[in-house]
């Protein structure tokens, strides 16, 4: 199949706008991806013609909204190949999902003296919730090391696993480095040692299709907005038997079966973990996002993004004094770099003047930046709709910025 990039780009209205008088080159996909028209239309249509609260009204509008919202759950189940739709828990996003897991799983399964393993390359959202729960439960948080290329030291991680280990919570693709971790191998090893695994898929979902049963991961979290969907909604996937053993995380409406002042009984999965009115509009828009995602040919996209990554890496390396941070053998289309004699912030400001959106700073991975002894990086993260022509523009702009700044 040939890849019609122009037709794909046309589905994203924002890609035709100008920023600071220049056509937008959007290379901050790692922070959030742009939105296709079908998703925007669904959101608009929901508020215009479908708005009602779900799971409670007998009136038609409420039932329609419930159907549209629950359709997103079913589509998510099919898309990620979960065994049951009850294993799909709606959250606010990745951070919320990890906090739910730390709060609920943590207070049930993590006890004094137990251990949780994360890695050096984690985002703050896969560090802080575990620090908090380990503090509370008097457990130990252990950090699996990486090498200079930004690759996980798998043998050292394996050596950390012992009878006290309850969970390995690890990022699939590093947001700051682009490293793709060998999650399947980690999961298999963990399971052989009776250890559970949570995979942070925030950065994976825009680049590939994931099958949770092939991985056999116990938990998987991501945010919809990073995979071309709406903000404010994400998914925590968990194996049914584990979710059933976990207590509710927040109390309120929707998560209960019966309430009296003496005793409350809880609702079943997935509603047990979804207290209060959810982000219905986002759920409906996520439903439309899955329709968009289901039309994509991920094999073709992989080829396209690999070409972009290789091309951009080669072009960037031609720049004098440019250093790429994160050179793992297995990488997603994310490039972090530094340029001698310039500060990432300054480069970001100048690129912005030329219409190029990159991320600069520590990418919410301060321990990782400390490990590299750098204040932060400039990060270009590509998505399905980016082109080599845009990479060329970034290189021209970058050379201009360096000339101004040095």
């Amino acid at each position: 199949m040939s890849f019609n990039i122009e037709a794909l780009r046309n589905e994203f209205p924002i890609l035709s706008r100008k920023v600071n008088g220049q056509p937008l080159v959007y290379f901050d996909n790692g922070a959030t991806a742009q939105k296709p028209q079908v998703m925007i239309d669904a959101l608009n249509n929901y508020y215009s013609f479908e708005n009602a609260n779900i799971h409670r009204g007998v009136h038609s509008l409420s039932q329609e909204a419930t159907t549209a919202f629950e359709a997103a759950r079913t589509k998510a189940q099919v898309y990620f190949n979960a065994a049951k739709s009850e294993e799909i828990i709606f959250t606010k996003g990745t951070t919320d999902g990890i906090n739910l897991l730390a709060g609920s799983f943590g207070r049930t399964f993590i006890n004094e003296g137990d251990e949780v393993i994360i890695s050096t390359m984690e985002h703050h959202s896969n560090i802080v919730p575990w620090q908090m729960i380990c503090d509370e439960r008097k457990a130990k948080l252990r950090i699996a090391p990486i090498n200079e290329k930004g690759e996980l030291l798998l043998d050292e991680l394996k050596a950390m696993v012992n009878e006290k280990t309850q969970l390995i919570s690890i990022v699939h693709i590093s947001n700051a480095l682009g490293t793709i971790n060998p999650v399947k191998e980690i999961i298999d090893f963990a399971h052989a040692n009776d250890v559970l695994v949570m995979i942070d898929g925030a950065q994976s979902v825009p680049h590939m299709k994931i099958d949770v049963q092939v991985w056999d991961c116990d938990f998987f979290v991501f945010s919809a907005h990073k995979m071309f969907g709406p903000t404010g909604i994400g998914i925590l996937y968990g194996k049914e038997h584990l979710l059933n053993k976990m207590p509710p995380y927040q109390g309120g409406g929707d998560m209960i079966k019966t309430v009296s002042f003496e005793r409350t009984t809880y609702n079943e999965l997935p509603h047990k973990f979804e207290a209060g009115t959810p982000n219905i509009a986002a759920g409906v828009a996520l439903n439309a996002t899955f329709d968009f995602l289901n039309k994509l040919d991920w094999k073709v996209i992989h080829t396209h993004e690999t070409e972009l990554l290789d091309y951009a890496t080669a072009e960037l390396k031609k720049i004098d004094g440019l250093r790429i941070i994160g050179e793992a053998a297995n990488k997603a289309s994310v490039i972090s770099f530094l340029v001698d004699g310039t500060h990432p912030f300054d480069v970001g400001v100048i690129l912005d003047q030329m219409g190029i959106a990159v991320r600069t700073g520590h990418h919410c991975t301060q321990p990782l930046m400390d490990w590299y002894k750098i204040p932060g990086t400039i990060r270009a993260s590509f998505a399905i709709y980016n082109t080599k022509k845009e990479v060329d523009k970034m290189i021209v702009a970058l050379n201009r910025a360096i000339k101004m700044l040095r």
């Binding site: 600071n20 310039t342 500060h343 990432p344 912030f345 300054d346 970001g348 400001v349 100048i350 003047q353 600069t360 700073g361 520590h362 204040p375 932060g376 101004m404 700044l405």
Partner: protein, 141 residues
């Protein structure tokens, strides 16, 4: 010159720049020329940590006026600091507290003072006013 006069002078200077490149080249040159802060004043108390770059700011009272010195690891931030110092340094605490800083907006650098830039500049303006408040309290007691 009053704080207002100094701001108007900067606005006038910037009005000749026809494009962003000239403007930023000027800011970068100001950043490069900013006199070094005394290393001894780069204390933890004087550091303002932004998400992107960090700023050091020191204020010293001399003859009833505050003299500011500063530094940053990012050159554009440093250039904007140079402008802020030009406006606010060598003024009395009262003048610093009673004047609005409107020039940043007027010379088209508003985004640098928005919280989203997280470069420490917003906190820096706050810290300048804090120095003024502190010295005001000291001199009036």
């Amino acid at each position: 010159m009053t704080i207002k006069e100094r701001q108007d002078e900067i606005i006038d200077e910037f009005s000749i720049f026809s494009d962003w490149m000239d403007k930023y080249e000027y800011i970068i040159s100001l950043g490069k020329e900013l006199p070094m802060i005394n290393e001894a004043n780069k204390t933890d108390d004087n550091i303002i940590k932004g998400c992107q770059s960090q700023v050091w700011l020191n204020g010293q009272l001399e003859n009833g006026k505050i003299l500011f010195t500063a530094d940053s690891d990012a050159i554009i931030t440093k250039g904007i600091i140079a402008l802020l110092i030009r406006v606010v340094s060598d003024q009395t605490p009262n003048e610093i507290l009673n004047n609005e800083l409107y020039f940043i907006d007027q010379i088209g650098l508003k985004e640098h003072l928005s919280p989203t830039r997280s470069n420490g500049l917003v906190s820096m303006v706050k810290k300048m006013k804090l120095f003024a408040l502190g010295y005001k309290a000291k001199t009036e007691n």
